[in-house]
Amino acid sequence: MGDIEAVKPFPDSEEMEISFGPQHPATHGVLRVMVKLDGERIVDAKPIIGYLHRGTEKIFERETYNGAIPHTDRMDYTAAATNNQGLVGAVERMMGITVPPRASYIRMILAELQRIASHIIWLGTHALDIGAQSPFFYTFEEREKILDLYEEYCGARLTLNAMRVGGQPYDLPEGWAARCKTFVDQFPARIAEWERLLTTNRIWKLRTVGVGVISAESAIEWGLTGPPLRGSGVNWDIRKVFPYDHYDEVEFEIPIGAHGDTYDRYLVRMEEMRQSVRIVQQCLARLPEGPVMAKVPKVIKPPKGEIYFSVEGPKGELGYYVVSDGGANPYRLHVRPSCFINLQALPEMVRGQLVADLIAVIGTLDIVLGEIDR
């Protein structure tokens, strides 16, 4: 991998340099951050990524369109359903396929459950980073229930591969909707429980209020999307602005923060989980009957052209840029990775703060290295 001196990011500094990661308990995978410290204060930070690079975009080029879906699962491996949703959405729009409403609603249910599951991981690990151990276990208990629902639907718990171009591969199993409803109905009580543990906790507020502040202008300049952008007070959600599936038919609100600090992003995500519960409840209530697969040619061959389609993933805007040359394989399939772009703002957010804040900010950005490195 070459020696460390060769990539020494701060050539002539007298402050202490410290390499956080790639093997570190709180960097959420193999992120490496070169930090220049003056005592405990961060003078500069430089994320170094690529330790998990697998060439996913190159692999896409050799796969068929449906064959590329399992590879999207492995990008943001905590949010496989939304990853799938983005890719199939892009290809469907390219081919002019209309998805049957039942399939569309199933997609929304899967995607919103995935958003909850992803936020659950975020909450557990974020709290663990800040030093609160117990929320991790409380949250993962709920996540298990979501994964059980997934397992029942498609057999997989993590890498779902649960969507196809043109619809859904399977209809919902018998009684699935009822079990899903049981879960979402009890879930808000769990959120309230976690909030009792953290939201008004003095130490939690000391550690998060005013930490990792980024203004709305700065957030737009740095291309932040998702909760980090909304935490800064920008009302921006792909589900509202460019509604896909049937998001324009369900009622939900976009929580936004005011100060752009870690605490606001925490509140935004907690509220997003409640809104996702609302969406799932509405979807289950109005789930139409009918087929789950549209009339789709056997070999998916979109016409020559290019399209960008994005969904609101749990971490931000997840976009797929598909270039087709008319063949059965994508000529180029580029992913706009929300975590990659959100992570770029890290130095901006931690400069001048303390080491402990770096950990809090990495947590609040909610990064998944699988998507950053692809």
Partner: protein, 210 residues
Amino acid sequence: MTEQDNPTAPAETPPQAPAAPKAPWEEKPVTPVLRDARDHALVKEIAAVLPGVVLEAVEFAGQVTATVACARIAEVCRTCKERLGYSFLVDLTAVDWQERPQGRFDVIYWMHRFSDSRRLRLKVNVADGVEVPSVTGVWKVANWMEREVFDMFGIYFSGHPNLERILTWEGFNGHPLRKDFPIEGIDTGAAVYPDVYPPGGGPVAGGEGE
């Protein structure tokens, strides 16, 4: 209805449409067509502030692509941001058209503006080895995106503050997303830990491919 949705596919049709003989998902899909978009409102806006800069404009599935000259891209982007309100760079990437005569690569800029939630794609054709003016001065977010394009395609961006490889390592041989990079990969020597690394710290392109 938005730009992202395909205008030819009424995705939001209520499922209980009584009169329709057949639901749209039972029909054969109607593919969107590529059409010229020189008179599209978004393209006209650019042409109004920067006459003659748009070389070509097409529309596909409701998304407008304007091709501009490579040398002027930074200027066009700055104007788009400052005068047309495209404050948000959504995505920046590249496509390799290996055998194309008028420049091998396309560099794609996908911009968004919040005032009316419209998106516009800018595109430049770049020949191999030609430097593209960097837009990091326009949007800070372009920094890592351009580094990624450099890393994956070997396209140089002039004026970039820190044009280093980002996903592969310093000394990696080749640019993986070029079409002539073997899709099964190259032997980078990274997994076998040899006693002596090849000169340059990396492997030889296409040499001992598995």
